[in-house]
């Protein structure tokens, strides 16, 4: 029996039923000190059945497309919806009004996994591993993960979505050590919507060699000074800054209180939209699913809504939040199509997907030359932010002093702390196109039950004035 026939059969027993089938194949290789430590793949397929009945919703998820298993799952989903009854938080009838959507999307121009791809990737990782050999090196790691995720959503309202995303994540790091000094680590990781061509797009071997040079600079460096300084954050640190202090606080389900027991809430209130000056007028932030190579570009979210580029912050003013059809309806905000699940066995919730900061008009040299006393920082090492996404403290791997408009001494343990709203209002300069980089990560955690999901952040270099900075002693 086809999914559409099942939906037709079940639709007599409830107000709305949908089937979301997810097939994901992932291939992973991990090397430590040049030795192959893990080589394998994971092939998963599962189905989530979601039911709306008498204004309540319920779901059941199973790793099977077999008819008898799905039939039992439907009855479980219906039972779960019916058992909610008067204790329902959200009137699910509002979801019956979401539009009927059909369509397809596939990652553009990806070089897909073939029978001999393990050999190809092993060869590439071997080269990176070889490039990580050098003075004082005591440990190296490098890894590659290829993910092919295919989602189909069938709804009893007639909608049918078919979407395939191809993801690549390359990561490597090096630790150096000499007796009497603190070990130092430099690392690189990025997840993009690319296939195997990712190895042709970046000079990973050269990047690995550069990490060894920088790690050895850190090994003999002094601690980052303590005090208030201008800071210049490179895009691989801006990724984290955007993620923690813009992305999470703008998730509407957090603002509505659903995440208070785990991921937390937000300092942003519903009545701040259209009113709050989130940052300086240089700040323009968008939900952008349209950059083809960015990790969370897609055409449809997991509720079947159509995704399009939308500004959330314009000239520093907060104008929209990150929430799918459900949250938009509850909050009366416009929202965006970003209700997503990590796999077939979890329900969609509000995620940030791609959240990007627009470029400015200065080169990196121009930014540096305008700073009398500052610190450049790159690559996040440690992150911590309160449950309302307000008070944060981040530490980077690599720092360099800026003195009288020039980059000077390298410093280790560079950290900074601040409060979100004040920090973004101290944004003083943004790099131009030449400084703009696209990053993605695989492991943004949130939700109950817990989910990790892929999110992307693109940013230019950014300059913030008068920020509290510290070194290894806090």
């Amino acid at each position: 029996m086809s999914f559409n026939e099942l939906l037709k059969k079940w639709s007599d027993k409830c107000d709305r039923v949908s089937i979301r089938r997810t097939c994901q194949k992932s291939y992973s290789i991990y090397m430590k000190n040049g030795n192959l430590e893990y080589c394998g793949d994971d092939d998963t397929m599962g189905v989530m059945i979601s039911v709306i009945n008498k204004s309540c919703s319920g779901y059941a998820a199973v790793p099977s497309s077999e008819y008898d298993v799905l039939e039992e799952a439907f009855l479980n989903a219906l039972n779960m919806a019916d058992s909610v009854g008067e204790h329902n938080l959200v009137d699910s009838d509002t979801l019956l009004g979401n539009p009927i959507v059909s369509g397809e999307y596939t990652t553009r121009n990806a070089k897909t996994w073939q029978d001999n791809s393990f050999e190809y990737c092993l060869d590439k990782l071997n080269c990176i591993s070889d490039s990580l050999k050098g003075a004082n090196v005591i440990n190296t790691e490098c890894s590659y993960k290829y993910i092919d995720v295919h989602t189909e959503i069938f709804s009893s309202n007639g909608g049918l979505i078919d979407q395939t995303l191809i993801i690549s994540n390359v990561a490597f790091n090096v630790t150096v050590f000499t007796e009497g000094r603190e070990a130092q680590k430099r690392s690189f990781t990025n997840g993009l919507q690319n296939g195997l061509e990712v190895f042709d797009l970046f000079p990973f071997d050269d990047m690995a060699k550069e990490l060894i040079v920088e790690a050895n600079e850190l090994l003999i460096a002094e601690d980052c000074p303590k005090g208030n300084y201008d800071i210049v954050l490179l895009p691989d640190q801006m990724m984290l800054q955007i993620h923690e202090s813009i992305g999470h606080p703008l998730e509407i389900d957090r603002i509505l209180g659903d995440e208070r027991n785990y991921a937390g809430s937000s300092f942003v209130k519903l009545n701040d939209f259209g009113e709050l000056q989130y940052g300086s007028s240089l700040m323009n932030v968008s939900f952008d699913p349209t950059i083809p190579e960015q990790i969370s570009s897609f055409k449809f979210d997991d509720d079947g809504a159509v995704a399009q580029k939308t500004y959330l912050i314009k000239e520093g003013k907060l104008i929209n939040g990150l929430g799918g059809f459900d949250s938009a309806s509850r909050s009366q905000l416009k929202g965006v199509a970003t209700s997503r699940s990590c796999s077939w066995n979890r329900q969609p919730i509000d995620r940030m997907s791609n959240l990007n900061l627009d470029i400015g008009d200065q080169s990196l040299d121009e930014i540096i030359s305008g700073i009398e006393n500052g610190i450049l920082m790159k690559t996040n090492r440690s992150w911590s932010i309160d449950d309302r996404r307000n008070s944060f403290q981040f530490v980077c791997e690599y720092g360099q002093l800026i003195e009288n408009g020039k980059l000077t001494k390298v410093v280790k343990n560079p950290g900074y702390r601040g409060v979100t709203n004040k920090f973004w209002n101290n944004l003083t300069g943004l790099g131009d196109e030449s400084t703009f980089e696209v990053y993605g990560l695989l492991n943004c955690g949130k939700g109950e039950p817990n989910q990790v999901i892929r999110v992307g952040h693109a940013s230019p270099v950014a300059h913030f004035k008068d920020i509290e900075v510290f070194g290894g002693n806090g």
Binding site: M80, S83, N88, S384, D387, V395
Partner: protein, 438 residues
């Protein structure tokens, strides 16, 4: 599930050539998840999931695959046989892994922990049917968890646990909350109702005017939940043999005897606790107990079978992560906690801990949920979230005054990918001169 898994392994193993080593490892669950917000149901569902990790080894080479089980034997046998064929054809070209190690002894184990959970149709009613108008938010996760393992040496292991974890908080109108993690094998209605009553009282205290404090050093009482948060964070690598060797553990200086903790600190990992399966993916069965810190000195680390080969020592753990970490209690009676603290901060929970400096075991993070300012042994006012930045070497070193006599065991409530196993047992702690940077 047990019979199904063992039968499946038998059917697929028939075709494996004797020159290969193989292992099959099952992770499965049948779980109910109900998410609450504002004392109502936000999402409600059932997840049934099962997957098998397949390991194949030959001549120090190793490959891994994972396949979902559909619960249709014919389909699952076909899928796993196909995976095995692919592995056999691949294993020739992959390089040798010098640290590939397989068990030489056969250790069969079987542990089944039965439970008595709420009937699934009644879970909503039991949890929010009678709580009145309170702002409860959280998640109930309950049902069966399965782990199984079969290898080509003839070893069979089985672990099955029926349990629940209701992780929730009750919020006051000012955004502060009273947090609980109620977990176990049997739902205890009275215990739950008592917790709700306690929460209502605590929320009344939290509604009082908040006090602001300035950055500086304060005396602290960390509740067992807050100490558990610290131990849980340390568990991400501090006790790992390979991390210590790679200088990536925050306890390197402790291991090298360059620092020492208070002699009141005794920490061990206990495998045979019932909170975690005693076997790993290939069939190694670890020691029952590994002492990590004894009288403040680091006396051991968690050595996986793989690390035992690289560092030429005996393995003592299925992984380099504690499955049931036990921090011994001290001499402080619970009822004497506030009096002993005298003036300082009562911390119920911590949040978002991370190293600000790994080498010095310096961690930052925030307080969360219900924290109070204490004066002369009495609660004075609730506090907003505060940021700390302090070394573990101080917190569990010269700063530690004492642990409470009573300890609390908290089941791992993580549900990333699947419901997790494991637990931590910890006491409360009074710590002097703890640094807040706010």
């Amino acid at each position: 599930m047990k019979d199904y898994f063992f039968q499946l392994c038998e059917l697929v193993s028939k075709d494996i050539d004797d020159s290969f080593k193989s292992s099959f490892f099952l992770t499965a669950e049948d779980s109910q998840f109900i998410r609450f917000s504002k004392g109502k149901v936000r999402q409600s569902g059932i997840v049934k999931d099962a997957s098998v990790s397949i390991l194949l080894g030959k001549d120090q080479k190793e490959l891994s695959k994972s396949r979902r089980l559909t619960n249709h034997l014919e389909t699952d046998v076909k899928n796993i046989k196909q995976a095995l064929r692919e592995m056999v054809s691949m294993i020739g070209f992959i390089p040798v892994n010098p640290f590939s190690i397989w068990p030489e002894e056969i250790n069969n184990t079987e542990n089944v922990y039965e439970g008595n959970l709420i009937n699934r149709d009644e879970t909503v009613k039991k949890i929010v049917g009678d709580i009145g108008n309170i702002d409860l938010v959280g998640i109930y996760a309950g049902g069966k968890i399965y782990r199984g393992q079969v290898n080509s040496f003839g070893q069979k292991n089985w672990f099955e646990s029926t349990n629940f974890n209701f992780d929730f908080s009750v919020y006051a109108s000012n955004g502060l909350a009273d947090k609980h993690s109620l977990s176990g094998e049997c739902w205890d209605e009275k215990k739950y109702q008592d917790l709700i009553l306690q929460s209502k009282d605590k929320v009344t205290l939290l509604e009082e005017d908040k006090k602001d404090i300035v950055a500086g050093k304060y005396d602290i009482y960390f509740s067992p939940a807050a100490v558990t948060d610290v131990v849980e964070y340390l568990n991400y690598g501090a006790f790992s043999k390979s991390n210590i060797e790679d200088k990536c553990s925050s306890f390197c200086q402790l291991m090298d005897k360059k620092v020492k903790l208070s002699n009141k600190v005794n920490l061990s990992n206990i495998v045979d606790s019932g909170f975690y399966q005693p076997f790993e993916i290939k069939g190694f069965v670890a020691n029952n107990q590994v002492d990590l810190v004894k009288s403040g000195e680091m006396v051991g680390s968690l050595v996986s079978p793989r690390s035992s080969l690289e560092y030429n020592c005996k393995y003592n753990s299925n992984m380099e992560y504690g499955c049931f970490l036990n921090l011994d209690g001290g001499k402080l009676e619970n009822e004497k906690v506030l009096e002993t603290l005298d003036t300082g901060i009562y911390i119920s929970n911590l949040w978002y801990t991370n190293y600000s400096n790994l080498f010095n075991a310096r961690i930052t993070g925030l307080t969360r949920y219900a924290c109070f300012w204490i004066e002369n042994g009495k609660i004075q006012a609730p506090l907003n979230a505060l940021r700390f930045d302090e070394s573990i070497f101080h917190m569990f070193g010269e700063g530690l005054e004492d642990f409470t006599k009573e300890t609390f065991t908290t089941l791992n409530n993580s549900t990333y990918e699947q419901r997790s196993l494991g637990a931590i047992s910890a006491p409360g702690a009074i710590v002097r001169d703890f640094n807040f940077c706010l």
